[in-house]
Amino acid sequence: MSDRSRLRLLVLQVLAVSLMLTLFGRLFFLQVVSGEQYQRAAADNRTREVVTPAVRGLILDSQGRPLAQNRTTIVVSVDRTAVRKQKDDGVAVIKRLSKTLGMRESKVKGSLTLCGTKGAAKAPVCWNGSPYQPIPIAKDVSTDVALSIMERRELYPGVTAELSTVRDYPAPGGAQSAHVLGYLGPVSDKEYSDGSSGLRRTDLIGRAGLEASYDTYLRGVPGFKSLAVNNAGSVTGTVATQDATPGNYVVTNLDARVQAVAEKALKTQIMAARAGKTYKCGGGCRADSGSVVVLNAKTGAVVAMASYPSYDPNVWVGGVSQKEYQSLTAPSSNTPLLSRAWAGEYIPASTFKVISTAAAVRAGESVNSLYDCAREYKVGNLTKKNFESEAFGPITLRRAIEISCNTVFYGLGYDAWVRDGGLSPKAGGADEWFVKTARDFGLGSLTNVDLPSERPGRVVDRADVLKRWKDNKATYCKRAKTGYPEIGDRTRARLLTAFAQENCVDGGQYKGGFAADFAIGQGETAVTPLQMATVYAAIANGGTLWEPQVAKAVISPSGVVIKKFEPKASGQIPVDQATLQYIQRSLRGVATNGTGKGLFKDFPVAVSAKTGSGQVTGKDDTSWFDSYAPSDNPQYVVVMMVSQGGTGAGTSGPGVKKIYQALFGVTGSTASASRSVLPGGRLPTALPTIGKDGSIKQPAVAKR
């Protein structure tokens, strides 16, 4: 062999050795230096988590009747990966399935697209969960259809029809309780990415009502199965399993039977007002919406609470369609989703006079004096008239409440305003007893009911007026100069310009008219029916303002009481006992000898009440009937309000009466506890018990 050949063989040898060393070096790098990184990658590769949802806890009424429960339904789901493995990408399977289910093919296809990917259908149609989780495409499928799918597997690869649980609102006895119960909705992106809440993409969480307030109790903890999978995504074994922990039960203070009566009474009165069958609704009142609240007068426990218009809460189950959602929120259908009870704000009208009475006493008036119930009351150059311009002469405050005399309360409010210094308040600030007292009764702030989206209402004082004027002064003064040339109607434009000129100069002044209106619950004051219920509860129970509570306790599915919600006082009303008793007697007088006597004069249970007919410009009157009973030992507070419903006694009063009839078992002129919708005629103090087998027993009736 030549030297050249020998040399070149050596080169080959060196090359071979260096290449093998290169391989070894790289191998060392991959396996030892960066091995950990690949171990993690491998773990991601081979495990997939499959979630077993926790069964959501029930919501029970105080007798243990389920208001929200779970029902099983046959759900048809499609395993996306399996279907797409078909030769034609699953086109034939989906076509066949759509036909079998009687659904449009485009809808089925849309449900199988992954949200956020290219060409995906819009939420809520697209799938928001893991692509490895079977996607539910139809619920409440009939057994026949389910069988035809499951028995012919070869025609429906990747399609399953299985029993699954969905939320169900059974409305026992017709008690829908839609607003109080709320509904479930999918987890939002923000909540999901928040991470801390441990939510998964497919979870449903409470979006309104009790479902939202007590979501963490009701939800439970989902279980999971960590499955070993191969490259095709088929399962090869189970790595870890964690069973789901079912959600806890929420026992409420609600009573389904009282709730049903209340809902029905409210609807009946609204329909009657619309039909022109109630007093002063001759041509038919608009009666667009309404609310009714029944509280335990001694604890603030919410026994029943309803809002009209309502809706079937089951509409949310399995996802609400765009059309359904629109009709729930549209103003044209009076926004059924909005609960008027704690999120609707209305002028309190004459029902506010109990607060004015307390305020007048604080402001130095005496309940023993006589006040002139004149035909009209002049405030500056404005004349404020009594209801139907009636005159009663000098009367007591009690009588003024009984007959709801406006001019007496105008005078009380105006006099207090004058004592505060009128337009130029006295040094050291005005006392503003009326505003202060309204706030001390809880108006203008939340009652802290255990439900979301509560509104605080509105109480406007001198400082508020001044601040608002300062904020808008520039606009008023500009308009005072330029006028409203863009408005075609010249009369209207002139009026608006005059208003702007007036406001530019003295818009910050708290005028005597404001104070007079405030005292009769008119003007800018706004309250929720629930707030008024707490006010009347405080008057009934001797002065304690309670936070209204819907939930009573949380019980585990095995029957262990996890939490009891004790009544929570939010304050005392600023009324001395003598004045309070005076007000109580006055309210009893309303029912025996005043605006409510037509309803309750011969009622076998002593009822105390106050009517209200709020005047809103351009609208029908707001009808109020606020009450409690029995008068000597108050158990219940019942407040009904119908927006644009006409008079308090005419429209709301009869509804309230029906509720008392049900509560006290009244037929004709006798009351009997045995005929009451409540067992034993009283609210239960004990909790319903839940047996080990899941059976629910109603609480024992306490002996009198």
């Binding site: 050949s5 063989l9 093998m20 991959l30 590769n45 070993a228």
Partner: protein, 393 residues
């Protein structure tokens, strides 16, 4: 035969066995280090093939040991072929070389005809009855090594370097199968053959500038092929995807990614034979053939996979040693060609599983599953032993 002499009987009975172990017997004179390394690789390869195919077969509802059995059959045939090639008369070898060459060219032509089948994108196969298939390009390697060695050594013994005419002849001789293989297209085998020819020419003593010229020309041709578009963008991307998986994310990019995960998580000592999760989860495609090294990486770790590299190194060392010690230029060139073949193929195959070389369809010698490759590799070992034994003639 004389019946009265029992001692003769004893002698004769011993002869068949004992003679094989005589000091100068063929069996004793074999390169046993080479043989040991090959047998060790065959053994490890068998375990790895079994591990790679067991779960796949089970999932298909087939006999989990079916591939193992076929692999063992391949090994037995391979060893028989190696024995036959070892015992072949050295002169007969030269006589057979043109036949083998012609047979492989015919085979390669057949592949391009409707007889050929495409497996994994390469049109390299002829499917035979009873579940067997032949890949003629594997045998072409053997034919080319012997043929080119013959051409370059015919008149060259004693002279220092081949003439330009010999060079041309050798290149022309190699060009036909090379072209046919390129048409399949089987880029991997074409590169192996190019490297074999280059190495043999270099050791045959071709002047350095000619070699440099050939390498340069190949590079220019390659560039032109890419620029002009002879190779589709897809092919170029496939080739480059080892470095940038996003060029072919569903194909090569996925393969290399999964391969690296398998090897990377093996660590120092591996997850244990048959216990690799990547392997049992079938995440690495073509794992029993081209990506067999990932099974070693995952289940046997650095120790086991490193051992495979060491064993291949031993084979290369012995092969080059045989080349250096060969009696004649033919022997030198045959051993050189085989050394180039194994060096390039081992580096390319393991390199692609480690993500440092392009992914091409080349099996790992002695380890991967596949009959044609096994037979060709074992014939090469037989040739090496043949050259080795010639020293003692």
């Amino acid at each position: 035969m004389s019946l009265g002499y029992p001692s003769t009987d004893v002698y004769r009975r011993r002869s068949s066995v004992d003679r094989a172990f005589d000091r100068d017997s063929t069996l004793r004179r074999l390169d046993w280090v080479l043989m040991g390394a090959v047998l060790a690789l065959l053994f490890v390869g068998t375990l790895l093939v079994w591990s790679a195919t067991r779960q796949r077969q089970l999932d298909l509802g087939l006999d989990p040991q079916a591939v193992l059995k076929k692999h063992l059959l391949n090994i037995i045939i391979g060893i028989s072929l190696a024995v036959m090639t070892t015992l072949l008369d050295y002169r007969m070898l030269r006589a057979y070389a043109p036949l083998v060459y012609i047979a492989s060219v015919v085979g390669l032509l057949a592949v391009l005809s409707p007889l050929g089948s495409t497996i994994n994108g390469a049109h390299s196969w002829i499917i035979l009855p009873a579940g067997f298939s032949v890949q003629p390009s594997e045998f072409a390697k053997v034919a080319l090594v012997v043929g080119v060695a013959m051409l370059l050594s015919e008149r060259r013994d004693g002279e220092s370097s081949p003439l330009l005419s010999d060079l041309g002849l050798a290149l022309g001789f190699a060009a036909i199968p090379l072209l046919l293989i390129m048409l399949q297209p089987d880029l991997g085998t074409a590169m192996v053959i190019s490297f074999i020819i280059l190495g043999m020419l270099a050791v045959a003593g071709v002047p350095t500038k000619w070699i440099a010229g050939m390498v340069g020309a190949a590079a220019v041709l390659g560039l032109i092929a890419i620029k002009v578009g002879v190779l589709s963008t897809y092919q170029v991307n496939r080739f480059a995807a080892f470095a940038n998986p996003s060029l072919d994310p569903r194909g090569v990019g996925y393969n290399t990614g999964q391969a690296r995960i398998a090897i990377g998580q093996g660590g120092l000592s591996g997850q244990g034979l048959f216990k690799g999760t990547q392997t049992n989860g079938k995440f690495v495609p073509e794992q029993q053939t081209d990506f067999i090294f990932t099974v070693a990486g995952e289940e046997l770790g650095l120790i086991g996979a490193g051992m495979i590299i060491v064993l291949l190194g031993v084979i290369l060392w012995r092969t080059i040693r045989i080349a250096r010690r060969a009696e004649d230029l033919f022997g030198v060139l045959v051993a050189t060609g085989i050394a180039c073949w194994f060096t390039f193929q081992a580096f390319e195959n393991i390199g692609m599983t480690l993500g440092i070389t392009p992914v091409t369809g080349l099996p790992l010698p002695f380890v991967s599953y596949g009959g044609s490759a096994m037979f060709a590799n074992m014939m090469a070992i037989g040739l090496l032993q043949n050259v080795h034994l010639k020293r003692y003639v």
